[in-house]
């Protein structure tokens, strides 16, 4: 398996974790993705993605404090690891390269 491989949703979650700077946990990520992309995300999907990312070593987690609206439950806060950062930039690099190739005015297909 290519270690760099990330699913589209996983990538989205990983990016979200990265920009939230240590404040990322299940519910917050769910809300954030919903606000940004408008797509309705199921919590369990986010959790699955987070754990899988952790398994791959792209994020690390620590158990954080509890708040009232959580019914006194603690949250697990996720932060992106250096390895995770590297992967993200690698993916970005690939995309950039590809965009470079088509940055010449896009020719619409002639019917």
């Amino acid at each position: 398996m290519n270690r760099n491989y990330l699913g589209e949703f996983e990538e989205l979650v990983l990016l979200t974790v990265a920009h939230m700077h240590g404040e990322a946990y299940g519910a917050a990520i769910t809300q954030d993705i919903k606000e940004r992309t408008g797509r309705s995300v199921v919590l369990s999907a986010v959790h699955v993605a987070l754990y899988r990312l952790e398994e791959k070593g792209l994020v690390s987690s620590a158990v954080g404090g509890a708040t009232a609206e959580r019914g006194g439950r603690r949250k697990r806060l996720f932060t992106i690891t250096t390895y995770g950062m590297n992967i993200l930039s690698e993916i970005r690099q690939v995309r950039e390269d590809l965009w470079q190739l088509i940055s010449k005015p896009i020719q619409p297909a002639v019917l």
């Binding site: 946990y25 299940g26 519910a27 769910t30 809300q31 199921v42 919590l43 369990s44 999907a45 959790h47 699955v48 754990y51 899988r52 952790e54 398994e55 690390s60 987690s61 158990v63 509890a66 708040t67 009232a68 609206e69 959580r70 019914g71 439950r73 603690r74 949250k75 697990r76």
Partner: protein, 891 residues
């Protein structure tokens, strides 16, 4: 965020049950937080629904939370569980390979048991599925009669024609009724150049297809009953005359009367009626007043009830009706009857003792049940076997158990391990059985004349059922050995001391009783097989009082032949290959007519039941019947033709004549058949008495029988051939036939064949019992073999010491075998009364039967003992011959 609404707590409970503790905390926190936001966004109702949905999505497994540095206990148990299962199978496989002969015996036993079971199950399923395809079949009933006459009460499927007209009129519960009349004789059908005699034709009421919607290959049922020249034929029959083409509208003649084919139906093998052709009832031309008869019982009557009607009340009401209206009419006749209703689904299996039911395909519930029991027995024996063999083998695996336990295996794990081993074995056996069954089913079909399919892949229920059966057998067989094995004390077995039941004086009762049960069943089956084989041989070989060899038998056809039967007979006699010819009605192995004979008792005329054989002057001579008093019919005596009777021994007794000589000259009267005047009586003297001879199968007693000359009923011809001249005789008979009836083909058979035909079912039972007895005995021997091996193994040291001290090999063999002889003896004691009871019951069906001699049981016992000794001695001799150094060296 100020909203502290609480989501439904039961969903939280549900989540908590689903998830590991660690994950639950954070997930629930997230959920609660989101819930608060949802309530604000979309209100409580929607939020609740969303919450429920989110909870449900957590049903999928979450990946593991981050691995902590040190594995926890649960990590171990999870990882080990699957590894262990793999390990179990690996060990099981190695054991299989290592003890090849033992595995072979085990698998062989189980495979035999399972195959027998599968085949029997297929057969039983087929028998029980008769008529289930008929829609609303649960509302259809067949009427049968309990007929009482001076010989007792019998069930009869023949009913009067009046039932079907009366029932729908008088009883509102009955929706419709149906009459079936079997067309008795074989009829000549002609189409194109094809001339074939067909039987299995019926004449029916127009409601037939409302009751039994058969599927049609060609044509439909519409209008069939309006046109008296229409006929519906079966697909098989259509192919005989018209090949593969569509026969609709084609001409076919029945006994020279033309008919038009209006439909071709397909016989359903699961239908209790297998038909060749169907005609409307009115084609038979039975006069109206005859159809009003309450006494003429030749029809099969079916009724269909209205949806809510109950059969029991209808039965009572109808019986009352018959008592009130019909019994007075029947007063004059020698019988009376009561109607009974039989559900359509019972017709096939529950009519085996019915008289006049030769139209239906009949099974026998007793045989079906007996087979089911045998199948279960064989399977049980095979499982027992496994228990015995596996327990015997357990000693060799004691060390393995010891090591496993020391390393930390729990008892539950060990039990699971050993059971999974037997389940594996059961799977192997089942796979082989399934393949075997596929191979044997065609043979089974030929044997049973059925069309059974082993629809393993098309029937969605069968595969799971077999899986459950396999696992069930595996668990059943493996449970006890697993219990024994897992109970070993590690310290003892590892020290080499403790064996499972080495406590002195303790009897391994379970294994012993298993062997007793196995051998009881074996003895039971051996006795049954011996009795059945002897009875069947008796049926075939009993002296019937006639000489049935080399008699050619055929019905006459065509007016020319009937009118000139004397000339026909003389022509036949012209050849030197023919020794004598008799023409008449009522030959052995064929139909005979039941009727009455009138005697005079104390001046009064008394009518009594008697079989009437319509014969000619050569009947007694042709069949080689022995005269014990008086004389045969003679052409020289002109009165013999119109005023003479010959009776049999039973008649002498039943008619009260005392001795045969005393009977001579007595006067008898007989109501002449078909006479214009119903009072026309034929008066005659008894001129001779013959020894009792059999004209029916040995199920039936020889009845009062009267022989007389009555040319109006002449129909069948029996030609006695001279020995060893068949090849020239047949063309001669054929040539004479063609001279008289060139339009009809001759259809002959040999008289002894018809007797063989009668016992087909018994012949089959005989071969079946043979097979099952062999299987059972064999499988039981496997078990005994295992037990002997176990005993020899256990007493290895004892034998060693005995040998060192000077015991002879013979005495050791005796020592080791004694125990098992005892077991077999107990089994014999148990089985004998059971076998006696079962076989006595079976034999009651036959009017003529063998005696249940004590020596049959003795022989079966000796046989069982011998087989057991042979099996055991193999092991005990091996043990006794062993070098004592080997067994005593290591301590």
């Amino acid at each position: 965020m100020k909203n502290l609404n609480h989501p439904p707590p039961w969903l939280d409970k549900f989540l908590q049950w689903r998830m590991p503790e660690e994950q639950f905390e954070e997930v629930q926190g997230d959920m609660h937080e989101l819930y608060g936001q949802w309530v604000e966004e979309m209100g409580e109702g929607k939020a609740r629904r969303r919450y429920l949905w989110t909870t449900l999505t957590f049903l999928r497994p979450l990946p593991k939370a981050k691995k902590s540095l040190y594995p926890t206990y649960s990590d171990y148990s999870q990882a080990n569980f699957f590894d262990m299962i793999r390990n179990y199978f690996k060990i099981a496989y190695r054991n299989l390979i290592r003890h090849k002969s033992f595995s072979f015996l085990n698998i062989l036993g189980l495979t035999l048991g399972l195959t027998a079971c599968l085949l029997i199950a297929l057969f039983v399923r087929d028998e029980k599925s008769f008529d289930t395809f008929i829609p609303e079949g649960d509302r259809i009933y067949r009427i049968y009669l309990q007929v009482t006459n001076n010989e007792g009460t019998n069930n009869s499927a023949g009913t009067p024609p009046r039932f079907a007209t009366t029932l729908p009129q008088e009883f509102p519960e009955v929706e419709k009724a149906l009459r079936l009349l079997k067309l008795q004789s074989k009829d000549l059908f002609e189409a194109g150049d094809k001339k074939i005699y067909e039987e299995g034709g019926i004449a029916v009421d127009s409601t037939f297809f409302d009751f039994f919607p058969l599927s049609f290959a060609y044509g439909t049922t519409t209008g069939i009953f309006d046109d008296p020249t229409s006929i519906i034929i079966s697909k098989e029959m259509a192919e005989r005359y018209f090949g593969k083409e569509n026969p609709i509208g084609k001409q076919i003649s029945r006994n020279k009367t033309p008919f038009q084919v209006k439909g071709v139906f397909e016989n359903n093998p699961k239908f209790h009626l297998q038909l060749t052709y169907i005609l409307p009832l009115r084609i038979t031309g039975i006069p109206q007043e005859r159809m009003q008869s309450w006494g003429w019982q030749q029809f099969n009557t079916y009724v269909k009830l209205k949806p809510n009607a109950t059969i029991s009340s209808l039965e009572t009401k109808f019986q009352d009706y018959i008592r009130e209206n019909v019994h007075p009419i029947l007063k004059e006749s020698s019988f009376t009857y009561l109607p009974r209703f039989q559900p359509l689904h019972n017709v096939h299996l529950y009519s085996s003792d019915f008289k006049f039911d030769n139209l239906a395909v009949r099974g026998n519930i007793t045989y079906v049940n007996a087979l089911t029991i045998i199948a279960l027995f064989i399977l049980l024996i095979a499982c027992f076997n496994f228990v015995n063999l596996a327990t015997a083998k357990s000693l060799q695996r004691a060390k393995e158990v010891g090591v496993r336990k020391t390393v930390g295996a729990t008892r539950k794990q060990l039990i699971i391990q050993y059971i999974s081993e037997t389940v594996l074995l059961a799977f192997i056996s089942m796979s082989i059985s399934v393949i075997l069954t596929f191979l044997i089913v065609p043979w089974l079909n030929r044997f049973t004349e059925k069309q059974i399919t082993f629809d393993l892949f098309t029937n969605p229920l069968l595969l799971p059922l077999l899986l459950i059966l396999t696992i069930g057998v595996g668990v059943l067989a493996g449970f006890y050995p697993a219990l024994v094995l897992s109970g070993f004390q590690p310290v003892k077995v590892l020290k080499g001391a403790g064996m499972a039941d080495s406590k002195p004086g303790q009897i391994p009762w379970l294994r012993h009783s298993l062997v007793v049960v196995q051998f009881s069943l074996s003895v039971l089956l051996i006795v049954s097989a011996m009795v059945v084989i002897r009875q069947v041989n008796y049926l075939h070989n009993k002296d019937l009082g006639i000489n049935k060899e080399q008699i050619l038998f055929f019905p006459m056809r065509g007016d020319n032949m009937f009118n000139n039967y004397e000339t026909f007979k003389n022509e036949l006699l012209k050849s030197s290959t023919v020794s004598s010819v008799s023409i008449g009605y009522g030959f052995p192995g064929d139909m005979v007519a039941g009727d009455n004979i009138i005697t005079s008792k104390e001046g009064k005329r008394v009518s009594q039941r008697a079989i009437q054989l319509m014969v000619d002057h050569d009947y007694v001579k042709t069949l080689d019947i022995q005269l014990i008093a008086g004389r045969d019919f003679s052409k020289q005596m002109s009165t013999d033709k119109d005023a003479a009777y010959i009776i049999n021994e039973t008649a002498v007794r039943e008619l009260g004549f005392g001795t045969p000589d005393n009977a001579l000259g007595k006067t008898l009267w007989w109501e002449v058949w078909g006479a214009e005047n119903s009072d026309s009586l034929k008066q005659g003297q008894v001129i001779g008495v013959v020894k009792d001879f059999h004209y029916n199968s040995l199920y039936d007693k020889v009845e009062t029988t009267v022989l007389q000359i009555f040319p109006d009923a002449y129909w069948k011809v029996a030609v006695k051939l001279k020995t060893a001249q068949m090849a020239t005789a047949l063309p001669h008979v054929q040539a004479v036939w063609n001279k008289f009836s060139p339009d009809y083909p001759i259809e002959y058979r040999f008289l002894d064949e018809s007797f063989e035909q009668m016992y087909k079912a018994e012949d089959k039972l005989k071969s079946l019992l043979w097979i099952f007895t062999c299987i059972t005995v064999f499988v039981a021997c496997l078990g005994l073999f295992g037990l002997a091996a176990y005993a020899a193994e256990r007493r290895k040291k004892e034998i060693g010491i005995r040998k060192v001290l000077g015991a002879s090999v013979e005495s050791l063999v005796l020592l080791l075998s004694k125990e098992f002889v005892k077991l077999v003896a107990v089994a014999l004691l148990l089985a004998t009364p059971l076998a006696w009871y079962a076989m006595d019951n079976w034999l009651q069906d036959f009017a003529y039967r063998i005696d249940l001699d004590w020596w049959i049981f003795a022989l079966a016992g000796v046989l069982a003992l011998l087989i057991a000794l042979l099996t055991v001695s193999f092991q005990s001799i091996k043990a006794a011959l062993m070098n004592p150094v080997k067994s005593l060296r290591s301590e």
